[in-house]
Symmetry: C2
Subunit: 221 residues, 2 copies
Amino acid sequence: MHIVSGEMTVGEGVYEALRHDIIFGQLSPSDKLKLDNLKSAYNASVATIREALNRLVTEGFVVTEGQRGFFVAPISGPELREIADLRILLECHALRLSFEAGDTEWEAEIIAAHHKLSRMEQRMQSGDHSEKETWKRYDWGFHQALISACGSRELLTLHGTIFDKYLRYQMRTLTFRGEAAAAEHRALLNYAMERDIENAQAVLRVHIEGGVEHSLAQENL
Amino acid sequence: MHIVSGEMTVGEGVYEALRHDIIFGQLSPSDKLKLDNLKSAYNASVATIREALNRLVTEGFVVTEGQRGFFVAPISGPELREIADLRILLECHALRLSFEAGDTEWEAEIIAAHHKLSRMEQRMQSGDHSEKETWKRYDWGFHQALISACGSRELLTLHGTIFDKYLRYQMRTLTFRGEAAAAEHRALLNYAMERDIENAQAVLRVHIEGGVEHSLAQENL
DNA sequence: ATTCTTGATATAATCGATTTTTAATAATAG
DNA sequence: CTATTATTAAAAATCGATTATATCAAGAAT
């Protein structure tokens, strides 16, 4: 999950916008990314568009095959499972490191993040799905806060990319998984406060796998 | 570790060459990557160079900051430890999946890869350091073969990138760690044949951490 | 002597044009 | 009618020029 800050070059702005639009579904899996269309849509020249697309290629959101242009990366059920597996692996590891190092500031941070998320979840549960993107930002905020004390910038960066790949699948469903998901978030918060890593990891695994099954039940990938 | 195959666009060729030169040290950490110099050195126009550099930015081999151009990513002792930690995490996980799924073909593959590597290690041990790059390619070949049956393309791709980041540090030392490293490779091969994942993971951890300490002993990062 | 301001130079970022390649369509042969 | 080849149009990749920004050096002010 990228948070935009400060002044950006045109190229960076195009990169962030394209990335956002792929993750949140405005650009669909396997869509051909025609340079002339993108030029108009993102208000930059073709060469600048290509720079942004090249960044997205190594990140895995765009695929290219010499001379045939760029395509939004495809999606599939098996890939979702692989990404979820990686997310579990990285996030469980980061949780352990974070629980070991986390201090009072970190506790306050995750309480605040959870508060925002649970407010959003209440709204989703009451039937208001109008701010789906905000909901997912708070979801990210909570998970990121949980692992923020892990002490490894490389791990956090990598986790962020994997999280976004997982999020792309999540954004395809129109529904909230319900009280089960909210309960899992609450459990994660409580185990964090208690520094109970074994139970936290177990809940996280259930949580992510629940999201996978929910996605796969909604569409045939 | 990227293996070059088939026809490439100029842009792809520049990307591979730059990537190679960063990993193998021809372009030093924190070097300013001046576009006019690269234009001559890599025989492509500035815009094409920029495309390749953008790919390397999201991959972490190059850093950029708004109007100031591109730099080879810096190195540091803490970062090496983080990368090693990630390599251990990913490779141990992939080993487990591979041991569960590996068949006779996979066994033959790792035996062949180990043979090549041990031949190279014999040469290093006899004092011949002339083919350091080949040695590292065989090292990669062996580790990659060990995890090749893990069944996750995402995991293999990710592991490959992390391996290359780790390799960049390894290439800075001029020396072979010695019989200890060779023995660890042999142990990995034997545990793979026996599908002994616990011992294999333990040896792998020792192996990678040995490489980290060897690197840190050689230079003050 | 130090700091700030201004202008010149170097360089990065972006642009649009040109070249190269691919894809689509039409013509021809079997 | 189908398959192959040739032609044309569309699009991708690369190029070099232009615009925008950073850096550096010199002069002025304190």
